[in-house]
Amino acid sequence: VNRFSWIEPEDVQGALLAGALEGALFKAGGVDVADRLKEGLEAPSALVNLRRLGELDFLREEDGALVIGPLVTLHRLATDEKVLRSARALALAAGAAATPQIRNMATVGGNLAQRPRCWYFRNEHFHCRKKGGTHCFAIDGEHEFHSIFDNSICAAVHPSGTATALVALGAEATLRSSKGERKVPLEELFTPAEKDVTRENTLQHGEIIAALRVPRAERSSYSKLMQKQSFDWPLAEAAVSLVAQRGMVTAARIVLGAAAHVPRRALAAEKSLTGRILDESAIADAARLAVDGATPLQRNGYKVDLFKTLVRDLLAEGARP
């Protein structure tokens, strides 16, 4: 780990000014930042500590939506009554992450902005595309946990389970820097590899996720498949959000996590459900279409079946009264 200065800002404005300095890096819970420093992936000149800024730690209901501050911990998301009531997929995703100790420290802002866990990206000995190299070592290497969609440039998967849930819930992010504020649908914050393989989102230098707005969901759920039952990254994860009238689906969002470079909307599956009664055949069609267009690598084809099973089970859960 390199030498760096530690900046403890007084308020958000101070944090944004400090974060705009060259070489500065924001730190919230510090979970992923500490890993990246130790793995030699980053050598910031300064760490700007956001963690003590109470202004960024809020969770309230506003006009039928949840408004969530970036410093809200995964533990709080997993256990808060308001989240469980109106954004169940998010509570489940936050509760399935890592360990109780990490969930107490990790923040939702940091969880969304963390870098991928691809073992080539994380290893300083592999100068992969994400680090400006010319080769993805996973594609012709060890890739049993890697992506099955859009994986011709880079096979890393997006690591954030809360991102999977929040995209399914149609969340909107407020981004703020010293220059001002902008709002984007969270889905658009994430960057496909073909656009810029060296990053996973369009956050600019000095910009933070200042708030998340999550519309109240009628029915949402999330599920994560792991090899281990404690402290494991997903083999596959998915989130769904459904709106139904008299048993007929009027709107559906289905998102696959640990599947692609970004949280992946299963658009064909969503479309197939709209206007249909959520019966066994509709569920089977959607589960099949959820993996439409998958391009598994040589040794991760098994993940395709895992996603089908996950989507089927989540929709079957959603069909129950």
């Binding site: 130790k38 080539y120 000995h125 592999f126 070592f137 039952q229 990254w233 098994y302 079946d305």
Partner: protein
């Protein structure tokens, strides 16, 4: 010097892997006629990758052949890893024994009864069989349980050596005239709780309680203790400890005659301290580290219950019944703790642990504890441990080792349980969701034949 986790993975050594080809034969009565093992193994360089221990020593068989080759690679050093060679060897042999039992139409546990002359092992199988509900559970044919999540039970056993002392092993007991008692040895505690066993032994010899004994270890100023390896610490050190306590007490009797209470007597001494010294000698009747027959071995029988999700390939170990012997268990709590640890490490070997080397460069890609997987809290099964005391009158404490034998059979028992659950045999560890799904798919394509 402290290495970080990656340094530990890369430079300190790893358990060697093996590729084993096994052939077993038995007659109509289920008596083994031949065992033939051909094995290749490697962890990189240095240390042997042999895995033939179980093949050579578990069962009585007239014809046993093992041919083993170490393969040298540029992938770091090998290291002795809890019962070197045995968990791997048992993973092969005990699965092959199950296959043989199925082909011969004999219950797998019965097959062991017919080929293992060890009386302790027989009793362990008998007890475990009842505790897991074996006879009832095995009425369900392999793969025949209903629904996508299938349960199964499996059995495996292991054994371990009684190594003698190869170097001087000694301890001393000091009685001080302020009424305190010290026991010293250069032994180290790598987690087995040797301090507690030392305090118990001295306390028993002196008529005190363990809390009254001040145990000091891990210092080269003290008499040399045994090295930690081969599950020898307790069985080698405690006879010396007891002898030292005995000698100290005898000296005290001469110094302060007519006072039976050790602490009272010590306070009446004119000098500051009395020192008793003890060394480990050969076992009574000449047992040493020489040639080892089957009867001289400790070991255990384990029964595992698993649940396999046939849609996701995820395997969960629900329960392990572990019945073990280790001579006289000096402290039941620390002995059970060793069994718990052995089983948990066995679960990790069966389902998770995998040193993944990049096929292009040979570099380890998962040299950290998030991607090198070991069992976490929710992965730990219910562990029911049973300790059978084997009182044989071999030393003044009669202890044997438990640290290594506790982990030998676990992975094999889990693999056999997976077979019972889904009717497909997974011959490669770790048994990952990917491998389970591939095996099930292969079975489906071949029309249901495993």
């Amino acid at each position: 010097m402290f290495l970080d986790r990656r340094g530990e993975h890369l430079a300190v050594g790893n358990r060697p892997s093996t590729i084993q080809t096994l052939r077993l034969g038995c007659d109509n009565a289920g008596k083994l006629t031949a065992i033939d093992l051909k094995a290749f193994g490697s962890a990189g360089c240095a240390a042997g990758a042999g895995c033939a221990g179980p093949v050579q020593n578990m069962y009585s068989c007239p014809a046993v052949r093992s041919e083993e080759s170490d393969v040298f690679l540029h992938s770091g050093p090998a290291a002795a890893f809890r019962a070197p060679g045995h968990p791997q060897g048992a993973f092969g042999l005990e699965q092959a024994m199950d296959e043989l039992a199925e082909r011969a139409g004999i219950d797998p546990v019965d097959l062991r009864d017919r080929n293992d002359p060890h009386d302790a092992r027989r009793e362990e199988r008998r007890r475990g069989r009842v505790l897991i509900g074996w006879d009832e559970r095995r009425l369900i044919k392999p793969g025949a349980s209903k629904g996508p999540r299938k349960r199964g039970v499996g059995f495996a056993q292991g054994n371990w050596y009684n190594f003698g002392a190869r170097t001087l092993v000694a301890a001393e007991v000091l009685l001080h005239n302020d009424g305190t008692v010290e026991c010293r040895s250069g032994v180290q505690d790598i987690g087995g709780g040797i301090r507690t066993a030392m305090a118990q032994t001295v306390a028993e010899e002196l008529g005190l309680s363990p809390a009254q004994i001040d145990v000091r270890i891990g210092d080269t100023n003290y008499p040399p203790g045994p090295a930690s390896g081969g599950s020898v610490t307790t069985q080698l050190l405690l006879p010396a400890v007891r002898k030292a306590a005995f000698e100290a007490r005898e000296k005290l009797r001469k110094e302060v005659p007519g006072e039976d209470d050790v602490l009272h007597a010590a306070r009446k001494m004119s000098r500051d301290s009395i020192v008793g010294h003890g060394e480990r000698i050969h076992d009574y009747e000449g047992w040493t580290s020489g040639p080892q027959d089957l009867a001289n071995r400790t070991g255990g029988a384990q029964f595992a219950e698993v649940e396999v999700d046939t849609e996701t390939g995820v395997v969960r170990v629900l329960k392990v019944v572990a019945v073990h012997d280790c001579g006289r268990a000096i402290n039941k709590l620390t002995t059970e703790s060793q069994i718990n640890g052995g089983v948990i490490q066995g679960v990790s070997f069966a389902l998770f642990e995998d040193r993944i080397l990049d096929r292009q460069t040979g570099r380890m890609v998962n040299a950290n504890l998030e991607q090198y997987k070991i069992a976490g809290a929710k992965d730990v099964p219910v562990i029911q441990s049973v300790i059978i005391d084997q009182i044989r009158g071999r030393t003044n404490v009669d202890a044997s080792g438990i640290g290594e034998p506790a982990t030998v059979p676990t992975a094999a028992a889990i693999a056999n349980a997976v077979y019972h659950a889904i009717g497909v045999r997974l011959r490669e560890a770790p048994i990952t969701p990917q491998k389970v799904l591939a095996a099930l798919q292969k079975k489906q394509m071949s029309g249901g034949r495993p």
